[in-house]
Subunit: 590 residues, 2 copies
């Protein structure tokens, strides 16, 4: 049996930072080679970062990717890593278009390049906009082991290049990924990887990106599956990690380059069977024909326990916030501490992500702010050990109300907007990023003030429904208690009735149904594509469904103006849900 | 020779307003039938509106489209239009996915449905995200004339369904379009239509949508090309129009349904030749086999003169603003009259689009506002005959500056933000839509205050570079003079040096290069995909290019938070230019 030591480098790349990402690849390869790795695999588009969106279309950006790739191959050789096969995702461009590529670096050179076959173009993905699909399958032999490479979406479609690698014969498959986190996505990912490994009849090294890029969070969780379809090893989620292991290999020595097309089902129009089209171009490249002399394999890496749901979501939100702030170069964050649950959870997230010293809570009471709100806000700051300032807005509000003769909603909104100006002024004066603590439920129904509480550069819980905000608060407090620490979130912020406090004795349920019901209806309508009739048939009150659906259908403009926030659920409000504003479609007509 | 009278219904549909759009189709068909039309063609997706973005994915929306289509066929029959063939674009859904469809209604029924073959997925288009491509070619015979149908992008690719219709034999082709306006696009569109008509060997009726939907403007300009590739007739741009004419037909009587694939160039991978894939499914449907008894054809319709460039752009901007305001149901608009050129041009556009009575100018002087700004603003309002109010913001600004101890940029921004609050408060109190008068140049380099002068629901000149703003102002004034009317824009707003007036004696050129140079560099960098090296080689000062490119590369967040505005140039800042925010790519490293 041939042997091969493989390193999965689960790293955090930054979109556009080609030189920084390249330096990271060099550094991690050095570490992997020190641990004896023969093959080092990095995530999809690690060199360019992912997703780079319309940057992909800039010729100068593609040229910079290619020249850095060549330079990286040389630097790896100079650094004594020339004998390792390094698999690096990057952007490329040839006569047929821009490519989502994986290159194999060896001996100071780019020995082969694979172009992603399947380009996802749904949800957060727009790859049909950017990339031309590949149709070739380079296979390299390293120490007698035949290795094929694929990229991310290639394993999510049946009959794709993995099946072809299985037919032509390989000993191992490396799959580079930039697979964004979604709740429960791991329940799909692991069985998929093991199934494809079994299809290829070869073990698969699945290396995923970690860290966040704008609205996307990558959770890592890289893994290796055996040719029998079992998980051999798994890396932790949400941290950079180098997983080194000896692969469980069968005998090598394949020579076939004939990939017959898969049988096409009778009557299927070929337009819908791109996978069944004529043979892929298979090229076999021999780097080291003979197996290594037998060596003592490493003990298997420790596989972490899967995270419980709240911990996984909390980690995703911490990652999203941390990387947005750090990658944008902000030294600190600031936002309004209202005493309510949303700002309390955002504060606890910010303290976990950035440390309490980078967090500046601002209390901005108006004449309608209650005493308990102010004390809960101060209590929160004390629990977290963060900075805390009080800037009352009553005087500013009064001038606007008086000069412009405001009343009703206009008067309510002006309070939120004076807070927005206050925060942005502090941001301009002191360089802190303003965070936006609104939750997904609010955003769905438009229960917020545009240019008021929606002000800010990043919305940490934009994709978290209100009921989950409460669950996360309770979970985070319980975690603290479990570790003998002060629970970060004041109990009364969790237990009191939510209120915007923009008029006397106001509570959210004056305008909205109870959050438990609201979140269920929103989940059905937004995530589940349920119609009005479906929801009524499921037992929800017809008038209530009508009211909620009308609020959602009318709030598109507010949602579109909202700052980015980490995507954690299936259909986030944000760039993966695109609706016209000037739109007369109403699920329920008024 | 058979005869056929065709009506091109160049109408303004509203996204999502299925019942309203259906009523419009019925009404216009009635008018066309009164003029003797045998075939009435409506634009792409007229029933659903276009683009409907993620609404396309809602099952209830697809179902509503289909049931309205069937109802429309019945209503047409009841209205005495059952003998006319009515071609209606709509959204459809079958087992293979969602479809961009064109149905042929006749005798109270849907007699055939065509699914768009080529799905554009670049620039403003995301159709690969929504639709499954069609592969069939229904051909109907009406009064002895064989008619094929295609949709928009189908004619923009070589070797598409029009070529196939030519090979199988048709007498006329109807092409439904939702083709958005871009400057100089008509220079491409007309030769394309005439070329495809010649390829099909049959005249082509090209009917385009008119009106605006969010950021897209449709300019109409429907036309008919003869089988010799000449323009037979052309409809005006930017207005709803029913163009009725007798088509110039050759003899009919085709029977072939065998569409052989086009020859494939040696060595071309089939993945890149979807057009060369196995034959389309051709179905011939006979409605009326025999030609009509000869009748006296109509005199040819009057073809309007093409619009000069400024008039075309002005009309596009008026259309975009008018439809955004009307389709969203706002009774009036309001924004700051600063005395400067941007707000003056926006005011003239708003007066043209909505009438002066729907326009509320607001002067909001701060302590740095000059006397000439106030008098120019008042002069503008008087010239337009619109409403005009003065709400000084000095008092509000003072409270913020005093309480928060603001200076420098923070103090400058607070003035813009107090104006933003003032406008939004008036909007909340009185129901008027706030407009955002920033231009494309400002937006490109980030020369604006977020939550300040960027506040508002629609930015009329968001896609107009500053130098074009001046050209449009001069053109609009000259047009007024030519018609003996008062030029709407004060001469001094055009001629004075631009200033934000946020500190004493401030002018734009304190922070920015002269606009003539700036716009040339921006055009090269943004529209022309020129690199730093390209621009320096073209003769621009290296330091200046570096400074401008850094401003552009750093302004993505501001651009993303900006309200929508009509797209008129090739790469608008907005939904068709998508860049990561957390992005370290800089064309020039600092």
């Amino acid at each position: 049996m041939p042997q091969l030591r493989v390193a999965l480098a689960q790293v955090n790349a930054c979109a556009g930072d080609i030189t920084g990402n390249s330096a990271m690849v060099l550094d991690w390869t050095r570490r992997a080679v020190q641990e004896g790795a023969h093959l080092v695999a990095f995530p999809e588009m690690v060199l360019s970062g992912y997703p780079v969106e319309d940057l992909a279309l800039r010729k100068s950006f593609a040229a910079a990717n290619r020249s850095e790739l060549d330079a990286l191959a040389r630097r790896l050789l100079e650094a004594g890593c020339g004998d390792a096969l390094v698999v690096v995702g990057h952007l490329d461009r040839d006569d047929e278009g821009v490519r989502n590529a994986a290159s194999l670096l060896y001996g100071g050179e780019v020995v082969a390049t694979y172009y992603k076959h399947h380009l996802p173009n749904y949800g957060v993905f727009d790859e049909a906009r950017y990339f031309a699909p590949g149709h070739d399958l380079p296979i390299v032999r390293l120490h007698g082991v035949d290795i094929g490479v694929v990229i991310c979406e290639d394993i999510w479609r049946n009959g794709g290049p993995v099946a072809a690698l299985g037919r032509v014969g390989v000993d191992a498959v490396v799959c580079l990924n930039g697979s964004p986190y979604e709740r429960t996505k791991n329940d799909q990912r692991t069985p998929l990887v093991t199934r494809r490994a079994a299809e290829a009849g070869a073990p698969m090294a699945y290396v995923n990106m970690v860290g966040a890029q704008d609205e996307l969070v990558f959770d890592g969780g890289s893994l290796v599956a055996t040719s029998e379809g079992e998980v051999q090893a798994r890396a932790p989620q949400f941290v950079e990690h180098l997983m080194v292991l000896d692969m469980d290999l069968a005998a090598g020595g394949h020579t076939s380059t004939d990939v017959s097309p898969e049988p096409v089902e009778e009557g299927t129009p070929l337009h819908f069977r791109p996978d069944a089209l004529p043979a892929f171009g298979v090229e076999r490249i021999i780097l080291q024909p003979d197996p290594l002399p037998p060596y003592e394999p490493l003990p298997p890496p420790r596989t972490p326990e899967p995270l419980p749901e709240e911990a996984e979501v909390w980690s995703a939100l911490v990652t999203g916030l941390r990387d947005y702030v750090h990658k944008n170069g902000f030294p600190a964050v600031t936002f309004g501490f209202s005493g309510g649950i949303d700002s309390a959870v955002c504060a606890a997230l910010a303290a976990d992500a950035l440390g309490p010293d980078a967090l500046y809570g601002v209390s901005m009471p108006s004449k309608y702010s209650t005493e308990h709100s102010r004390s809960d806000a101060a209590d929160l700051a004390q629990r977290l050990g963060c900075h805390y300032e009080v800037h009352p807005v009553a005087d500013m509000v009064e001038v606007f109300v008086d000069r412009l003769q405001l009343s009703g909603v206009a008067e309510e909104n002006v309070q939120a907007r004076c807070r927005g100006i206050t925060l942005m002024s502090l941001s301009n004066q002191l360089g802190r990023l303003v965070l936006t603590p609104g939750n997904k439920t609010e955003l769905a129904v438009g229960y917020s003030t545009i240019y008021g509480d929606s002000v800010g550069g990043f919305a940490p819980i934009k994709d978290v429904p209100k009921t989950l905000v409460w669950r996360l608060a309770r979970w985070r407090n319980a975690e603290a208690a479990r570790h003998g620490e002060t629970p970060p979130i004041p109990e009364s912020s969790i237990s009191k009735a939510p209120s915007a406090e923009l008029r006397p004795d106001q509570v959210d349920t004056d305008s909205l149904p109870p959050y438990e019901t609201l979140d269920e209806i929103l989940d059905g309508y937004v995530e589940g594509d349920r119609s009005y009739a479906d929801l009524v048939a499921e037992g929800f009150d017809a008038d209530l469904v009508e009211r909620v659906l009308q609020m959602v259908d009318r709030s598109e403009y507010k949602r579109r103006q909202y700052p980015p926030g980490s995507k954690i659920t299936f259909k986030a409000f944000g760039r993966d849900r695109r609706l016209p504003i000037t739109n007369r479609w109403r699920e329920v007509r008024p």
